[in-house]
């Protein structure tokens, strides 16, 4: 009987302790209820390092708040020009034109669902929208098989339809899914079922070929199997090795196209053969700079809380205006990844969920200044993120460095380190400033902390040069001593032996 009571008492004590510890844990979580890993980065070893938040939710905009009678239905794309936001409300066959006022309120300007001067005058499931400098609107009117260009008053200017060229497979219907327009009015269209690359139209609407085809990838064993162990009929049944289509495209201010890719063999990511993010130049080659230890592929680990989610599915990308920092959007985890122009990850944040700052099915991202706007296709919402003090410091520091203000940049990086002592870029930034001030030993320390071999080597060689110049006298003395002392010793030995031999001779005489 007493034993039983003891057990009960023990159990009670245990539960109390457990609850107490749980309370301690919740107290440690951030005030807004996010786990502390909302924002993180990877260190040199590929370990997740939690960090301060680079972005915070400014507001989340739903259709109802904008006064829409029918809410957004599967919106697929979003475009930001200055303070105007154009949302492709795909399943409602319309484009929403919103604007952000000076006091940070988003309001509906107009609903674009009919255009003047062409047939058909309405859209059929438009998948993308682009607005150029002079506010001409380009709409990828997917199920009408055209890209239509209208001026800001919605008067028809011209359209880009299925090319009648022989290089375009005439049996396919032309379904433009994404488009970008460069400064001279050339239109690049990512069309469904077209795997030769982006369809390129000149400003006058003529088709001039394909740009930036994805390379054909196939598995070696698949190839052997197909070529040597399959009959002709089987071969016809199997899918053929064709290049895959891109998932999304974005044009930066220098007219380079950033493309993301979501169909690849996930193990190709490990040796950077998949290249989910590309920067295409005029002839379609990938010129993305990758100077980090890990290529820009989103998350390095594909298992979260023992659930295998697979690699990041980067469905959209945007490039900030001033510093070539690009942000990719992972649909699987509802996560944003920021990379600088050197391909080094600045931060990653976001998750799936129902609260503000989490996503159900994120589909598009764009930026307004340094603010980020993310469109969720299932929620029909736009989440607006603004950089925190920490995020702004990172931007300011890299901007100062790009401007040539190295000392100013180092000061900013010092402040970043106060908020996140695991930030490699900050160590490198401070190291560079120290190197310019000729504090080589300190610079080397910083570079070593960031595992930056290249800069370490640079600082080290300068330091070694100075060290050798200062100590050359001692080095020469030691070297000479090492060479001369044995010589002297040998000659002394020889002389002594000669003397002894002489003495012996004398004695024997």
């Amino acid at each position: 009987m007493t034993v039983k009571v003891m057990h009960r008492l023990l159990a009670l004590i245990m539960t109390v302790i457990m609850f107490a510890s749980i309370n301690v844990n919740t107290a440690q979580a951030a005030d807004d209820g996010y786990p502390t890993t909302y924002t993180y980065n990877y260190d040199y070893w590929g370990d997740v390092r939690e960090s301060a938040d680079a972005y915070r939710v400014d507001q989340v905009i739903y259709g109802a708040e904008l006064g829409l009678e029918t809410l957004m239905k599967k919106p697929q794309s979003m475009f930001v020009r200055n303070r105007d936001v154009y949302v492709c409300d795909t399943n409602n066959n319309r484009i929403l034109h919103l604007t952000r006022s000076e006091d940070n309120v988003f309001s509906l300007v107009r609903i674009i669902d009919t255009i003047q001067g062409c047939e058909p005058a309405t859209f059929n499931q438009p998948y993308d929208v682009y607005v150029d400098e002079s506010e001409n609107i380009y709409v990828a009117d997917t199920y009408n098989g055209r890209v239509v260009m209208v001026d800001k008053d919605l008067n028809f200017i011209q359209d880009y339809t299925k090319p009648s060229d022989a290089t375009f497979d005439q049996s396919l219907s032309f379904m433009p899914a994404k488009l970008v327009v460069d400064v001279s009015g050339r239109v690049f269209v990512l069309a469904t079922n077209v795997n030769k690359g982006l369809v390129k139209f000149e400003a006058d609407g003529s088709f001039t070929g394909f740009v930036g085809a994805n390379k054909v990838t196939y598995n070696f064993f698949d190839y052997i199997w197909k070529m040597y162990f399959s009959t002709k009929e089987q071969r016809a049944q199997q899918e053929s090795f064709v290049p895959t289509e891109y998932a999304n495209i974005y044009m930066d201010k220098d007219s380079f196209i950033y493309a993301t890719n979501t169909t690849f063999d996930e193990y190709d990511l490990l040796w950077d053969a998949a290249q989910p993010i590309r920067r295409l130049n005029g002839i379609g080659n990938d010129i993305l700079i990758k100077n980090d230890r890990y290529p820009p592929i989103g998350d390095l680990y594909w298992i979260e809380a023992s659930v295998t989610l697979g690699p990041s599915k980067l469905v959209d990308i945007t490039v900030l205006d001033e510093n070539e920092i690009y942000v990719a959007l992972d649909q699987t985890r509802g996560r944003l990844f920021g990379y600088d122009s050197q391909g080094i990850m600045l931060w990653a944040f976001g998750t799936t969920g129902n609260s503000d700052g989490t996503f159900n099915s994120a589909i598009a991202i764009d930026h307004m200044g340094n603010d980020l706007l993310v469109l969720d296709q299932n929620e029909g919402s736009i989440t607006v993120f603004t950089p925190t003090e920490y995020g702004n410091l990172i931007y300011d520091a890299s901007a100062a460095y790009l401007k040539g203000d190295y000392d100013g940049s180092a000061e900013k990086w010092e402040d970043v380190l106060k908020m996140n002592a695991n930030y490699n870029l900050a160590f490198i930034g401070i190291g560079r400033a120290l190197m310019r001030q000729e504090h080589f030993v300190e610079a080397m320390e910083y570079f070593e902390m960031a595992h930056d071999r290249e800069n370490y080597g640079r600082a080290f060689r300068l330091y070694r040069k100075i060290w050798v110049e200062e100590n050359i006298l001692w080095m020469v003395i030691v070297l000479v001593a090492v060479m001369i002392i044995p010589l002297v010793r040998r000659s002394i030995k020889k002389m002594r032996m000669e003397v002894e031999a002489y003495e012996r001779n004398q004695v024997s005489k």
């Binding site: 070893w45 070593e448 595992h451 071999r453 290249e454 370490y456 080597g457 640079r458 080290f460 060689r461 070694r464």
Partner: protein, 225 residues
Amino acid sequence: MSATKSLSKSSARKDKWNRYVESMKYAKYVLFHPFDGFWDLVHEKRGTIAAATTYLVLFLITRIVQLLFTNFQFINAPLQYINIFEQAASLLLPFLILCLGNWCLTTLFDGKGRFSDIYMAMCYALVPYTLIQLPLVFVSNIIAADEAAFYTVLMSFSSAWCVALVFVGLMQVHDYTPGKTFIFLIVTVVAALVIIFLLLVFFSLLGDAATYFISLYREIAFRLY
């Protein structure tokens, strides 16, 4: 009487010491004349187990010094995770298992070497690694990453030298032809894997047996209580 005895004892100790020093010095001959060197090492009793063990320990020390003190430009050693005893064991155990595997096979296929001979030859074959890579640890701290050509060439050279010495050593120890040595080198790896498998099975069975008896004891204790 006792004085002479202690004298002879101390002279025997001195002899032993001299033999040890001689066998240590003999490594130099083995390095540059491997065919003669390994033959005499084993068949003319020029080597000692003590010297061989010394070289093995030096090799392990080299590995650890390398991990700890090579400049970060040349090595990816996550120092926060490194346990030097674990590192040493992860080199020592495969080494011994390979020696054992080689011995198991070659005794069956008229190899002349005893286990101690194989162990000695393998240990002496590791000397170039210590000899070259230990100084390279220092060198790595006075060169920059883009001057690494010299460093990497020496690194691979020392490893190639070791491999060549292992090959010649086993050939001479067992009095095999080169072809046979080559085949037995490959088969030795298989044998080592088999040994590792057997060890794993043994220990997991041992664990199972232990749990069985522990639970049996518990069951009986409960019944009696």
